[in-house]
């Protein structure tokens, strides 16, 4: 469906053949017996160079002989679906496929570390579908050859209903390995009662008036993005020189005592308890916090720009039920299903037509439900407009593992010192 470039047959070959890594390692370390023994404890990787693309016949080869099995194991993040799972029940009723839905992914790094050994050994990981963020680890999954190439002939709803911009994602051009589950915006959340004024720009995160009351993300990519954007640099096009400048900018913020802490998901709590007055934040979280705790925090996309990230449905290369998995992927691109999902999670919906559908649901609803559904349909955080998209940037993109390591070495010392 989408054009895929540059073949590399060695990728698939590497996956099916016994690797020589261990023997190589023996040769290198084999002078002494201890050396040999030590060497035998290596961590096996994929072998070969990181690959950004697949062979033109890879799709055909992967999907040949694969059939529907009537069941599938789905790994997702917490709070990413109504706990009653209405969509999955509907899916099972329609297709007869039983879905085992598990909220096992909490962070990308640990998730990658957990499944990488099985995938390297060409073993199944127990899941046929997993939702992974565009991140350093997405690149690692992709270049490791751990993701199945998608057969777009099995994704008619995706072709019909997805927003066209998703075909140009920098981390997976042409959606060769992934299609979006939901996207989110990284911007600034603040407590207007404490800041005493409106927050509009990244520069406010460097404003001495908020010394010690600023929260930043501990995730190196999120942190780096804001450093780059504050300097007017585009993360997606940045290089090592730009990273160093951004790191200097962020260090200046830290050394000035601006930053209270570098947070993970706990930033929401810190904002609620007044530890921070303004913080880097993810769009859906603030919406949900306001709804569930009755708070009145504001979320803005900074004038210099914010970032958009995407959580993506992917099929591990060793999946036992890939046909069932891709059927479910396409199911979530039916407008009605995309609409009900967005109504619950309040993250950016990849199906523009769902907006009209939610309005219809609102028209049919009454009272509080009606107001909240109308709010969702009108929210720029669920259905960003053109003007919003223009301010949103994709993440830093890595071509090689060395680049990733260099990036980590530049930004990690800021959060870990």
């Amino acid at each position: 469906m989408f054009p895929t470039d540059k073949p590399d047959p060695s990728l698939l070959r590497g996956m099916t053949q016994r690797r020589l890594g261990r023997r190589d390692a023996f040769r290198l370390g084999g002078v002494s017996a201890l050396g040999a023994f030590l060497a035998a404890c290596g961590v096996e990787g994929k072998g070969g160079k990181p690959q950004a693309s697949v062979a033109p016949d890879a799709v055909e080869k992967f999907w040949a002989g694969k059939a529907k099995n009537g069941k599938l194991d789905f790994a997702n993040w917490p709070l990413y679906m109504d706990p009653k799972k209405p969509e999955l029940k509907k899916f099972t009723a329609q297709t007869g496929i039983q879905v085992n839905y598990q909220e096992v992914i909490q962070e990308m790094g640990p998730w990658f570390a957990k499944v990488q050994p099985q995938l390297s050994a060409a073993q199944p990981i127990g899941y046929d579908l997993m939702v992974i963020t565009n991140s350093i680890q997405f690149g690692q999954f992709r270049s490791g050859g751990f993701l199945a190439p998608l057969d777009h002939s099995k994704l008619p709803n995706y072709a019909a209903n997805a927003a066209k911009s998703y075909a140009n994602e920098s981390f997976d051009p042409g959606n060769v390995f992934s299609i979006p589950w939901a996207s989110g915006i990284t911007g600034i959340a603040y407590d207007a009662k404490k800041t005493g004024r409106e927050i509009t720009s990244l520069a406010d995160l460097w404003d001495p008036a908020f010394k010690g009351k600023v929260g930043m993300f501990s995730d190196t990519q999120e942190l780096a993005n804001f450093g780059l954007l504050a300097l007017g640099l585009k993360p997606g096009e940045s290089d090592e020189a730009a990273w160093k400048k951004a790191a200097a900018k962020l260090r200046e913020q830290k050394d000035a005592g601006m930053v209270r802490n570098y947070y993970d998901q706990s930033y929401v709590d810190a904002l609620g308890k007044g530890e921070v007055w303004l913080t880097q934040a993810w769009s859906g979280d603030i919406f949900q916090k306001n709804v569930s705790d009755g708070t009145d925090f504001k979320f803005i996309i900074p004038s210099e720009g914010g970032t958009i990230w995407t959580d993506n449905m992917t099929i591990p290369i060793t999946a036992a039920n890939p046909v069932d998995a891709i059927t479910l992927m396409d199911f979530f691109y039916e407008v009605e299903n995309a609409a009900t999902l967005a109504e619950y999670i309040n993250y950016v919906c990849p199906v523009p037509a769902a907006q009209a559908q939610i309005k219809e649901h609102a028209a049919a609803a009454t009272g509080e439900d009606k107001a909240s559904l109308n709010g969702i349909a009108a929210s720029p955080l669920v259905f960003p407009g053109e003007a919003d998209y223009a301010k949103l940037h994709y993440y830093v993109d890595f071509n090689t593992a060395e680049q990733q390591q260099a990036f980590q070495n530049i930004f990690q010392p800021i959060t870990l010192s």
């Binding site: 890594g21 190589d24 390692a25 290198l28 370390g29 050396g35 023994f37 030590l38 060497a39 035998a40 404890c41 290596g42 961590v43 096996e44 990787g45 994929k46 072998g47 070969g48 160079k49 990181p50 962070e107 790094g109 640990p110 990658f112 570390a113 990488q116 390297s120 690692q140 270049s143 490791g144 010690g212 501990s218 830290k254 930053v259 209270r260 802490n261 570098y262 308890k273 007044g274 530890e275 593992a401 060395e402 990733q404 390591q405 980590q408 990690q412 010392p413 800021i414 959060t415 870990l416 010192s417």
Partner: protein
């Protein structure tokens, strides 16, 4: 035949424990040592190349966190000795019939998960929390004052979480002291303080020694307290290891850091044992 049996017997007796140690101690240690000398990246795999540079990098990049962890561990341990001794002394000599009740009360909070308890402290100590909010309202502290995110908060958390591990060994040592020994000291005209200093305290030293082992090592390598109660200014070495292993999949760096930490802690403990005279201590503990 009998002689063969007799020579083999000790080895056979050691076999179960020995195998256990081999499987669950030696093998992981060697694996980790190997990892710490490897090179590569997670996609292409790590290969053993005898890459000592990992250690150099680990020490140069994370020297500050290493020193900070040791300082936190040391402060925690000293504070624990000062706090635990009176508690253990009181339970051992004045606890009477209720000794076991008091010990149980001491341990009671520890039936709740370690992480959960630390998070609860976070709720209490937070900027607008139940402790600071009234103080700020009353104008006793400035509105910008905070406890969380400081070294004090982290050391406080460490002390809280490791308290029983110091009290219990000291209690056991004190409990073993024959009251007649103290009476004898008094009979020989030792003042109460002198009896404590010359008799009770030296006899309790093995307990202190054991308590230090059980608190200094885990407190120095702890990462939960700093992660929950601290900030980026209080990063401990355990957090660095965790980030390198889980967030970066940089296993060689994580292993090198762990090995270096282990070496530092071991040499510290050995020096300490030498200074205190291990043999006496161990003999006393064995009695």
């Amino acid at each position: 035949m009998n002689r063969v049996k007799r020579t083999l017997a000790p080895y056979l007796l050691v076999l179960p424990g020995g195998l256990w140690l081999l499987l669950f101690f030696v093998v992981p240690m060697v694996t980790m040592l190997s990892l710490s000398l490897q090179q590569g990246d997670i996609i292409n795999g790590y290969r053993f190349t005898g890459h000592w540079q990992n250690y150099v990098d680990a020490i140069t990049d994370y020297r500050v966190q290493m020193i900070r962890s040791l300082v936190y561990g040391l402060v925690t341990t000293v504070a624990l000795i000062v706090m635990s001794f009176p508690i253990a002394y009181w339970i051992a000599f004045h606890g009477g019939k209720r000794k076991s009740t008091y010990l149980f009360l001491l341990l009671l909070p520890f039936f709740v998960s370690f992480v959960l308890r630390t998070i609860s402290w976070r709720q209490i100590l937070t900027d607008d929390g139940m402790l600071l909010h009234p103080l700020k309202e009353a104008g006793l502290v400035s509105s910008g004052f905070h406890i969380l995110g400081t070294s004090y908060a982290v050391i406080f958390g460490l002390i809280y979480n490791f308290l029983p591990f110091m009290v219990l060994p000291i209690y056991v040592a004190l409990e073993r002291i024959d009251p007649r020994v103290v009476e004898a000291a008094r009979d020989l005209y030792a003042a109460p303080m002198t009896a404590f200093r010359r008799v009770v305290f030296p006899l309790a030293l093995p307990g202190v020694f054991a308590g230090v082992l059980m608190t200094f090592v885990p407190a120095s390598s702890d990462y939960v307290n700093s992660a929950v109660l601290g900030s980026s200014e209080t990063t401990m070495i355990g957090q660095v290891v965790q980030a390198q292993a889980l967030a970066n999949s940089n296993y060689p760096m994580a292993s090198a850091l762990s090995f270096f930490l282990m070496a530092v802690l071991l040499s510290g403990i050995l020096l300490y044992a030498r200074a205190l005279g291990t043999e006496d201590v161990m003999n006393a503990a064995a009695r």
